[in-house]
Amino acid sequence: MSKTILYVLLAAVALIAAIVAGLYVFGQNSEELANDMSRDMQTRAMPELPVSTPAAPIPGAAGQAKQFAGREVTVVSWGSAYTRSQIEAYHKPFAAQTGAKVASIDYNGGIAQIKTQVDSNTQFWDVVDMEVADAVRACDEGLLEKIDPAMLPPAYDGTPAMQDFIPNAIQPCSVTTIIFSHVVAFDTTKFPADKQPSTLADFFDTAKFPGKRGLRKTSPKINLEMALRAAGVAGPDVYATLATPEGQAKAFAQLDKIRKDVLWWETGAQPPQLLADGEVAMTTGYNGRFFDAQIVEKKPFKIIWDGQIQEHDVLGIVKGAKNKDVALEFIRFATGTVPLAEQARFIAYGPARRSSLPLVSIHATAGVDMKPHMPNAPENETNAMQVDAAWWAEYQEELNLRWAAWLARG
């Protein structure tokens, strides 16, 4: 009985607090807006700013200085820490070298927005940073421009781009910039020192490791793979299993086990935030974001590298982009040896060029050695697997629908 009365009282308090909170949120929003605007202006005002990064000495680029003065290119990416690393490593030096303005827009992945723009012939975007599975599918559907690999600059020692990039990095419509990893991270303070989770299976074991879990809502990709791996399917067998109805049922059954404890995230910035707010005890997310929270913001988080799933992140150009020439030059520039290595100074993602790896050094502000934080560092890779982009291009439509139906069934 007392609880019922309390509920009523709380409801009354909540009503009053709602007004206060509304004002608070409103205030925060405008602050965020102001931040966004100032960041945007920084991006736009780039040519005038002194650039601290070394100008990338890309062969062939000499003599083309300021070739795009007065032009603009719109680059779409995943926001916050990740976009910041790209602004530092690609946008600023590119703007300084070519005179083009680089406008940065955030999105949450998927190809729907690209498709809408292409179908209605209103291309607001030029370059899009995508997960490779989306890029393969978008390319098949004619939503991306073809990129001629011959235009990509060779490495310092003259190694041609085709050999310098890691396998599968160069696709008909896209070029890989970084390898990132989907991992599980947890808040070390939420578990006793002698009972810290250490494997992917622990993520699905809420009996042994109680607490809420964070999972990505916007796509079945990674969720299904992780579920199968935690259910005991070996990395190389995951996609063959997932192609069968039994395999899919097994993956969803594994997710059903933790279903009632799941909080869903949608943008890459959310998982570290959910951990920091204490909303979840463990969550999936991108390793670079966790690195940022862990090392730069000094949060007590830890990454479980066991069962990590690596994926390529690529750059592509929207079909019929208004600034296709600038966009091509941007990709040529950004996927050069130096900008790729430079990016790894700002976020813990592995560069896609072999020639960039030796250049990866210490973090720009935190000063830590970045190598042990890379997804492809040997000690992190003992139980890793790769996302199969071609498989997902085929099954995405079917599984996206089943995923949405599974989610909504509640």
């Binding site: 007392s2 709602a18 729907a112 559907e141 939503l143 079917e398 599974w406 989610l407 509640g410």
Partner: protein, 415 residues
């Protein structure tokens, strides 16, 4: 005598002619004054809704992208072997579609019908110019699925220019390979559940709004002008605030580490481990939607109550009615037009909500509107989105007719 009658008749005829003329003028000026409204409604209401409903049955993609293959399938009844003419037409269709860069549309449409079409079509398109007759075995060599009847039945289904397929999908039904309508497998069925949930949520929100709104409107209508105005400002203030801001405010309040849970844990009634899940589920959707829709209930009820003369209830009391009796028999029936309008407004608005459930609904609090937006923006299956919208519209209209049958339209007053 006769003359008087004729004269008065003539006078009357004159008069009624004059009245008729005046009426006609009034009617025609009223007609012209209403024209902007009619034009507005047509352009911004009737045409878009008509367009969406049209899309739910009109499906020209395949017949535009692969016209000859589609034509070749028209005469095939779906039984027996797939027609040779279709195999023969496909290579040229694929080459044409690729040169016009529109093959992607057909790929997307066909993959909705049957997963796997994507790789089949793309593989076929890549080697279309190298294929040679006889085409049926040539396609079979590329992918054995090209030889199966099911593939071509699905192709034929997707190729129908006028189709009920989207409505079937919107009701969790599908056509099997023999053309019979069957229930979809359980793991792919969702829309019937969502429609039911949508109407249950809309109904619950309406009831909650009525229980909170009616007493509040009563207090506002029966207090001093000072309190009335103050309460009016409090009702209207959130009404003027953006829905997104109000919804986000509820997240701040209701999340596990939010204000409400913090207060609960600080009280002696809840332990730290007993934090309640008040948001990102159906509870969150109900609370936030009730809050957002409350003014739509309060305002019509209040506008009716303020016009009820206070001496009616006094008269009832002086004639011996008890206080509850007077309220029940006199006040409540008089306030019913406002209640009717409020209930209808809130229910119809609630049935179409999607921003609030998307933000605070988690997964169990999702409504049909979220899936309409999902198919409009994410899967780009506009036909299915249109069919879902059509069914939602039909559902709301049915509720509307049931409602005016029971309450009566003439008894409703919005303001």
């Amino acid at each position: 005598m006769d003359m008087t009658v004729t004269a008065s008749q003539a006078l009357r005829a004159d008069l009624s002619a004059a009245i008729e003329r005046t009426n006609k003028r009034a009617r025609s000026s009223a007609f012209w004054m209403a024209m902007p409204l009619v034009a507005f409604l047509t352009v911004f209401f009737v045409l878009p809704i008509g367009d969406i409903l049209w899309r739910s049955v009109y499906n020209p993609t395949l017949s535009e992208v692969l016209p000859h293959t589609t034509n070749a399938l028209v005469s095939w009844n779906g039984r027996g072997n797939p027609p040779i003419r279709a195999y023969n037409a496909l290579p040229q269709d694929l080459i044409n579609a690729q040169s016009k860069d529109i093959l992607g549309k057909a790929v997307t449409r066909l993959n909705i019908e049957m997963p796997g079409f994507r790789s089949m079509l793309i593989k076929a398109a890549r080697s279309a110019d190298q294929l040679s007759a006889p085409y049926a075995p040539a396609f079979g060599a590329l992918d054995s699925r090209w030889g199966s009847r099911e593939t071509w039945v699905k192709f034929k289904n997707a190729a129908e220019v006028y189709t009920l397929g989207f409505y079937l999908a919107a009701l969790d039904l599908e056509r099997n390979v023999d053309g019979q309508i069957i229930q979809k497998p359980q793991e792919d069925s969702i829309y019937v559940t969502l429609f039911l949930r949508t109407f249950v949520i809309a109904g619950l929100v309406t009831v909650l709004c009525l229980f909170i709104g009616y007493p509040l409107a009563f207090m506002m209508a029966n207090t001093t002008p000072f309190w009335r105005n103050s309460m009016m400002v409090l009702v209207l203030l959130p009404f003027w605030t953006s829905v997104i801001v109000r919804t986000t405010a509820w997240i701040v309040l209701l999340q596990r580490e939010g204000v409400v849970n913090d207060l609960a844990v600080a009280s002696p009634f809840f332990a730290e481990t007993e934090r309640m899940d008040l948001i990102h589920n159906m509870t969150g959707t109900l609370i936030a939607m009730t809050h957002i829709l409350l003014p739509f209930m309060i305002l019509p009820i209040y506008s009716v109550m303020i016009a009820i003369p206070p001496h009616y209830v006094r008269a009832a009391r002086s004639l011996g009615a008890s206080a509850p009796g007077a309220f029940w028999q006199v006040y409540l029936p008089l306030s019913m037009p406002g209640v009717g309008a409020g209930v209808l407004l809130v229910f119809i608005l609630a049935a179409g909500f999607y921003i609030t459930p998307a933000l605070v609904g988690g997964d169990s609090g999702q409504m049909i509107g979220n899936f309409i937006s999902f198919h409009m923006n994410e899967t780009l299956n506009w036909g299915l989105a249109a069919a879902l919208s059509g069914l939602l519209l039909a559902g709301v209209l049915i509720m509307y007719f049931i409602f005016i049958r029971t309450i009566g339209l003439d008894r409703m007053r919005v303001a």
